[in-house]
Amino acid sequence: MIEPEENMLSITQLSKYYGKNHVLKDVNLSLNKGEVLCIIGPSGSGKSTFLRCINLLEQPTSGAISYRGKNILDKSLNVSSYRQHVGMVFQGYYLFPFKNVINNITMAPMTLLKENREDAEKEASQLLEKVGMAEKKLVYPASLSGGQKQRVAIARALAMHPDLLLFDEPTSALDPELVGEVLKVMKKLADEGMTMIVVTHEMGFAKEVANRVIFMEGGYIVEEGSPKDIFQHPQNDRTKEFLARFIN
């Protein structure tokens, strides 16, 4: 049985200026529930800005974003309660250094979803199990490796039960030998049906896990298609040029 496709995110004519610098130009995107979208592109092409517009860490200059049919650029929107539905994982992890691993994870659900400590900790333990960090529950972030920090950061985002997860180069700050453990967790999430938008330079991951790949450059979406379209039959010269750098 095929489930009807449920629209999660619909973005039209999104534009963003930083002062006079036009960093996003007429970006359009529609994303369905369960989709995994990978965004690739050179440095400065606007990938992060695009992602940050989606959870309103940046305010778009013009255009429309609707989340499950609701206009999130509406002035009356409660931004923080919208963000509770859209998790984000950053390149720099940003765990809270004064809280141990389990408290990093339980903080948001206890404060924002009013979960009691027992339930929140039980769920945090399950999440830590899922990201392979069960033994590190009581440890402080300072003593974790980058890969471990990022896996905890993913668990922290999951604890809010987001419908959509944004990843901004989650493995770019990691030593090469630690990249795999984080990608494995992300693949697991994708397999479980999590809707994800992933900005990444990990072409292998994009090929294997994405349903759709977007190539951005100069603030535009230059090319969009299935991983096969983009990686095997890129149409645009800019895409070809960019991908050539990753073939080795």
Binding site: N55, L57, S80, S81, R83, Q84, V86, G87, M88, F90, G92, Y94, L95, F96, P97, F98, M107, A108, T111, L112, Y140, A142, A153, R156, A157, M160
Partner: protein, 232 residues
């Protein structure tokens, strides 16, 4: 030279012990209030509300631009007169307001140190990585919650070494309260020395008492600092 150490010890000693209690009181309340004032002022100075920021910039500059000694005189002698005049002008008659010397002293220490500590907190808050704020916002915390639950706890921890220095400084600065007749250590020593002419003995004892008060505290602060370094 004929030094009467025993005399001084027997007579001035107990008096200094009472002085120590006063010093500890002044420092304890002065420092807690200064920390609270410092935090509130730091938050106001980082607020989005421009007039509020401006007010506190001016206030902090006034405090930092005048000596604590002058502030103590002002609080103890001038403010009561001003308040009195204000009440008279409002038609409620003379109230003859007078703070105790100790509470005026505590207020002076709290306000003076509060101004400096607000700068410590302000820069500690500003140096927290913006990623901390953004990851908090991304989880769904409001700006207020991010400040209260994520930024301030880190800024406070990072400020502990500097606060420790201020605490030790405040202990020593309580000697200034002598000028508004708080019978702390200096005033007791002065009184004793002028009556007995045991100048060397008295002031040496005074110095020793200050050392005994501040040295262990300095060490304690170092230990706390090291502990937080490990957690961070």
């Amino acid at each position: 030279m004929d030094l009467k150490w025993k005399d001084a010890f027997v007579t001035l000693g107990p008096s200094l012990l009472q002085g120590v209690v006063v010093v500890l009181q002044a420092t304890f309340f002065g420092f807690i209030l200064a920390t609270i004032i410092g935090l509130l002022v730091a938050i106001c100075r980082l607020s989005k509300h421009k007039p509020l920021r401006a007010i506190f910039v001016v206030l902090v500059e006034i405090i930092r631009g005048t000596p604590l000694l002058v502030q103590l005189f002002y609080i103890y002698y001038v403010i009561p007169i001003l308040l009195d005049g204000l009440l008279k002008a409002l038609g409620s008659g003379s109230a003859n307001i007078q703070f105790s010397a100790l509470s005026a002293g505590i207020a002076g220490l709290a306000i003076n140190y509060g101004a400096y500590i607000s700068e410590v907190f302000r820069s500690a808050i500003l140096t927290i990585d913006t990623g901390q704020k953004e990851s908090g916002l991304a989880l769904g915390f409001t700006e207020q919650q991010v400040l209260r639950k994520i930024i301030i706890p880190q800024a406070l921890r990072n400020s502990i070494p500097v606060l420790g220095n201020y605490l030790v400084m405040m202990i020593k600065d309580t000697s200034l309260l002598a000028v508004i007749s708080v019978s702390e250590l200096l005033l007791r020593t002065q009184t004793y020395a002028s009556q007995t002419f045991e100048t060397v003995e008295s002031y040496t004892m005074l110095a020793v008492v200050y050392l005994i008060l501040s040295l262990p505290l300095s060490h304690l602060m170092k230990m706390i600092e090291n502990k937080f370094h490990i957690v961070r």
